[in-house]
Assembly symmetry: C2
Homo-oligomer: 426 residues x 2
């Protein structure tokens, strides 16, 4: 059971269904949207479903949208801070430093700009978009029981170590780039796949609190404290552990291993002189036993994804083949062409199409099954030697032909078509 | 450039092409094979391309095959040790202990048995099969220059740390399961994907040297030595560093960082009392900075694979839709059916088929492009409101119809077909 859990760690139960839903969410648009078009981004869709405007995290009411870039057609996430007025151009320029950070646990920051398109003065942050992601607040703090009361089921320790490993890895990337995460509020850490988390609000406080000019070393040390509070919140199902930190840590100790308690305590405790500062390298070395197991989980997930992808690539190949067949057969402009007439060589392709798609059983009723179609197409694609009997529609003629010969015919006919004006790629 | 490298770490340059080649290799069979069928495994294909019989690693000449299980139709890898005689039933039973190990860096051991099917007494190990894998010897020690001399290009340090992280993770899994890897010969570590390595010969020495009954603790300590030698071999391009270990370590120190040299030295140096034994936990904590970067690479790879998979799932969905269309249209048994005649409602589907596959340009020449087909099918699948004009073949009639209406027609026609006897799944 333990091993199974390891395997499934990063992998949703219903991978395909999950990806399908994400594809739908990505494409979804709002029919009568009142949202404006910004310079390079159009078709905005609000991702904020809770309708409260809270200004707690950044000091400005905030909104989140997905939008399409008119430069490359890709989808991005826009975060808008309402009523922000830029006083120093350098503030917004600081965002470009985040291009140095390339971590699987940090949502990439693409750009930031101010706009009046919403009828006010707004600050916009553009980041990568992750369809159907949820914040850790939405994921861990909103389950309700059938009486509508919030229930607090304990998060499995293994999940917590997975978060800790990912966050450790993110902080390592950020601190190495001479930056600080600054915002680790559970509402600004998003879950984008099973057990996969990402910091979604990097660079924002760098801009909004630019004037404060706090030293980097101080901000980096504060990251450890934010980290500790984040884990403590999730582990104790308590969004405001600040008020009674000591009690929360004790509570954590009753539910989880001493090692987890020690780790969180280390993060929360300010360094005493002479120990100068905390370093992310020390932290990572301390959690290495858990890191190695997260690494192994990730390798397993990589393997599963690779084998799913191989399977799907087969489908893609067959799709192109079937599209080819569809393009060749029954073209009206061939109606008078001898090649396609009952004694021309391409007549065979017509009969093959019937053979693939129009099988009937002994009573003449249609046989509808993807299995037969798949197997015919696979053999055609491979051009195997196997022979099949193609029967003319009037049942007067039977042609015995190998898939190899059919493959030649298909390529020949398609090659002729391609000599036409609209050369496409198959 | 550094960041780029991290990203590509586990990801082949041409992912799709690579997977396609692996799928072909998996399916490939030998036409006139003389190889026998074993109890549960048939269609053996030799994977050993070098035709020497070496008995150095296990003490018996060995052969490697892929084979199909008659139990589940899956492909496995069989390793045959020629001329092995089982004297103690417990020896072969020890293999089942390996079921406890579930590591992304250990090829899973499925079974072991003896057979006379080859005309001798052979011992067979059944493991997972990884198409087109190469041994580290084949990968790192066989590049030759244009004069046929072996060239030794240095393996990038980042690749070595990737190997070290994976092997550390594998040893952790194996030692936790109260086993030892025992065989880390570079010819028995296989490369199955870009930078992904796996121990391919676990459990073999447990059986073959069963009688020696060496204590586990001793074997586990020996694993560190094997580990050190393996890395030293690859780093110095020297398959037999045993002869001059000290010189090889010095050579390594000239090409790579002091940290790598220290790591290898630690592995190679026997512990001096009072320091009792080496532990894999200590090792992992020592390399944690590299482990965290391998972890992040793996998360990035996971992301890339997931997005490739989403893209392919789209293709799969369209393949099913196009197969459906093919099944419906032009069925000979509908030739007299009023519904499909020029004024029946299904006539529209015939014209739609022409619209999708048989576009012509202003001069009447065929337009052949996957783009048009894809876009039509996507709209059909979504059933969008967009209207198109379908023109009859004689150009006398034009029907204006929305994709939504067409979708209804397709589902209706297909539903009717499904009432036939061969109910398949689409
Ligand atoms: N990069 C992103 N891609 C896709 N969705 C995102 C991204 N970042 C955030 N979201 C989603 O947008 C929604 C709103 O995010 P937001 O940060 O406003 O959370 P919130 O709970 O409304 O917090 P607040 O009260 O601070 O506004 C959440 O569901 C979140 O998962
Ligand atoms: N589990 C596996 N799946 C697929 N291929 C494998 C597997 N294990 C080994 N192979 C491949 O089989 C081939 C032969 O392996 P083998 O261990 O015999 O190597 P070798 O170089 O011939 O060494 P030796 O001299 O000891 O026989 C190699 O190309 C190797 O990559
Ligand atoms: Mg919000
Ligand atoms: Mg061999």
């Amino acid at each position: 059971a333990y091993q199974r859990l390891t395997h499934d760690f990063f992998m949703p139960e219903k991978l395909r269904e999950d990806l399908q839903k994400k594809a739908e969410a990505t494409l979804q648009v709002m029919p009568n949207s009142q949202l404006p078009t910004l310079d390079n981004y159009h078709t905005l869709v609000a991702l904020d479903t809770s309708h409260h405007k809270s200004a707690t995290v950044f000091g400005f009411p905030g909104w989140v949208y997905k939008a399409t870039s008119s430069k490359n057609g890709k989808m991005y996430c826009l975060r808008r801070l309402e009523g922000y007025r830029l006083t120093n151009e350098n503030a917004i320029r600081s965002v470009k430093d985040w291009r140095r950070v390339d971590s699987g646990t940090v949502v990439s920051v693409i750009d930031a700009f101010t706009t009046r398109a919403f009828g006010d003065s707004s600050l916009i942050f553009v980041t990568d978009y992750f369809p159907l992601s949820k914040t850790l607040v939405e994921h861990h703090f909103t389950s309700t029981n059938r009486f509508g009361h919030r229930t607090s089921t304990n998060v499995p320790e293994k999940v917590l170590w997975g978060y800790i490993s990912q966050i450790g890895s993110a902080i390592k990337s950020v601190h190495s780039a001479k930056l600080a995460v600054r915002c680790m509020d559970p509402s600004k850490v998003i879950l984008t796949d099973k057990s996969r988390i990402r910091f979604s609000a990097c660079s924002i406080l760098d801009v909004v609190q630019y004037e404060a000019q706090r030293p980097l070393a101080e901000l980096q040390q504060e990251d450890f404290l934010h980290f500790g509070k984040l884990i403590l919140s999730i582990a104790t199902n308590n969004l405001a552990p600040n008020q009674a930190m000591k009690a929360a840590v004790d509570q954590l100790g009753r539910t989880y291993s001493p090692e987890l308690k020690e780790t969180v305590t280390w993060l929360l405790t300010p360094t005493q002189p002479p120990a100068a500062v905390k370093s992310i390298d020390d932290f990572i070395s301390g959690i290495s036993a858990h890191l190695v197991s997260a690494f192994d989980s990730s390798l397993h997930t990589q393997d599963t994804l690779t084998s799913e992808l191989s399977r799907e690539l087969e489908n893609g190949r067959l799709f192109r083949l079937i599209a080819k067949l569809g393009t060749i057969n029954e073209r009206p402009e061939y109606d008078g062409d001898r090649n396609w007439s009952e004694n021309g060589e391409r007549y065979m392709l017509k009969l093959f199409r019937d053979y693939v798609f129009h099988q009937v059983d002994a009573e003449g009723r249609p046989v509808v099954g993807l299995g037969h179609i798949l197997s015919c197409l696979n053999k055609l694609d491979a051009g195997v030697e196997e022979k099949i009997s193609l029967v003319s529609r009037d049942e007067q003629n039977v042609f015995v032909v190998s898939y190899r010969e059919l493959k030649k015919l298909v390529n020949g006919a398609f090659g002729d078509l391609m000599k036409g004006p609209g050369k496409g790629r198959y």
